[in-house]
Amino acid sequence: MPLIAITDVKKRFGENEVLKGINIDVEPGEVIAIIGKSGSGKSTLLRCINGLENIDEGSILVAGAHLAPDEASLKALRLKVGMIFQQFNLFPHLSAGRNVMLSQMVVKNTPKDEAEAMARRMLDRVGLGHRFDAFPDQLSGGQQQRVAIARALAMQPIALLCDEITSALDPELVAEVLAVVKELAADGMTLLMVTHEMQFARDVCHRVVFMHEGRVHESGPPEDVFGAPQTPELRQFVGRH
């Protein structure tokens, strides 16, 4: 059974149909890169999987459970699927450690010392154990993004959604974040990531999904997608990057 089963998903913003019937099955432990032009609906798809947008048609199953728009099932979903954003979205009024602790304590009622121990472990995992007390504005973009990853990991999700998590970073800082993601992949985390880092997609991902105008236009192992693109759109896209 796939971990995430996306079936015939459609999404409209007013007149504008942004997702025109998406089908993707994600197996446990799979690492998938989603690529495509700006506006092709990549972010919208991830946001639908995380319940940040309601879908108009189709269905999304996560670990067998239906995604319904009521608060209880949304919460259940989000405990299973974490999300990391392009703009980090750390909570600026909390230290790095507190950022990681907050949702455990609030959502799962984890006692403070357990949450703190977990936060230290997760910050260590992204190489930031020593910045536990630093505030977001004292961290570089790369460090902030790693804290965001630690924050998502602390909820012990079964899958992570990553939306261009290195696009807002200075070029020097991209590598440190990708290294963390690579390690997660190696540890068997299920990852669904929108990315422009083609080299990274080639090296790390098991499957690449090329989206075009709200549809999955082509998909397959990175060798095929990058080495032998079937459609002119993908050829053009790969040629450019």
Binding site: R47, N50, G51, L52, E71, L74, K75, R78, L79, G82, M83, F85, Q87, N89, L90, F91, P92, H93, L102, S103, V106, V107, D137, A148, R151, A152, M155
Partner: protein, 219 residues
């Protein structure tokens, strides 16, 4: 007619100013609590509740406070509720300031980036948890200056409670003037006392604003 010395005038005005201060405190604190509740409803998920909160704000921001006080005191009396003046004054002032504070704070909450809502949602937090732990702590920072600024309006707004029999600063001023025929001395002193009450609020609001803005200056 009795003779008022300047000291008599000042003494009576200061005594009356105690009411001004007390009423201001009640209406500000009560208004903050009710305003917070209105805010939660106003930006919440339930559409009909949002509409109600909107209507509430429209009603209390769109009618003179004087009329609100009058109808709260005498209107309730007419309906058979014999509310004491302090209760009616407190009630009307609280509802009035709640409407304004809710609007002020809504602006502050809406100034928080959408990413904060989304990040906290994606961590599994519910609406109240998001508000309590993520949004309000940040909104509070930007909310302090306009909130303190509004407290000046509350101080001045209490003047209208004279319609339901409160002898606060403004009313005392009128009464003393009627007994002394010295409008300039009396109103001068009244203005001075208001200034002394309000100016620290306005000043601290400016200082807070400057403090909060300082780290955001970018080049």
């Amino acid at each position: 007619m009795m003779e008022f010395t300047t000291w008599d005038i000042l003494r009576n005005l200061l005594l009356a100013a105690r009411w001004t201060v007390l009423l201001s405190l009640v209406s500000f604190v009560g208004g903050a609590i009710v305003g917070l509740a209105v805010l939660f409803v106003r930006i919440g998920h339930r559409r009909w509740a949002r509409r109600c909160a909107e209507g509430y704000v429209e009603l209390f921001q769109g009618t003179p406070l004087l009329m609100q006080l009058f109808l709260a005191f005498f209107g309730l009396g007419l309906l058979g509720f014999d509310v004491p003046a302090w209760l009616a004054a407190g009630l009307a002032l609280i509802l009035w300031s709640a409407a304004f504070l809710a609007e002020i704070w809504r602006g502050c909450v809406e100034a928080i980036q959408r990413g904060q809502w989304e990040a906290s949602a994606s961590l599994g937090m519910g609406y109240l948890q998001q508000m309590r732990w993520v949004i309000l702590p940040q909104a509070l920072r930007i909310a302090v200056p306009p909130t303190v600024g509004f407290s000046m309006q509350v101080v001045k707004g209490t003047a209208l409670t004279s319609i339901i029999g409160f002898v606060e600063l403004s009313k005392a001023g009128t009464m003393v003037t009627n007994a002394t025929f010295q409008p300039f001395t009396v109103y001068g002193l009244v203005a001075l006392i208001y200034f002394v009450l309000c100016w620290p609020l306005s000043k601290s609001s400016q200082i807070l604003e400057r403090k909060l803005n300082a780290p955001h200056r970018h080049h």
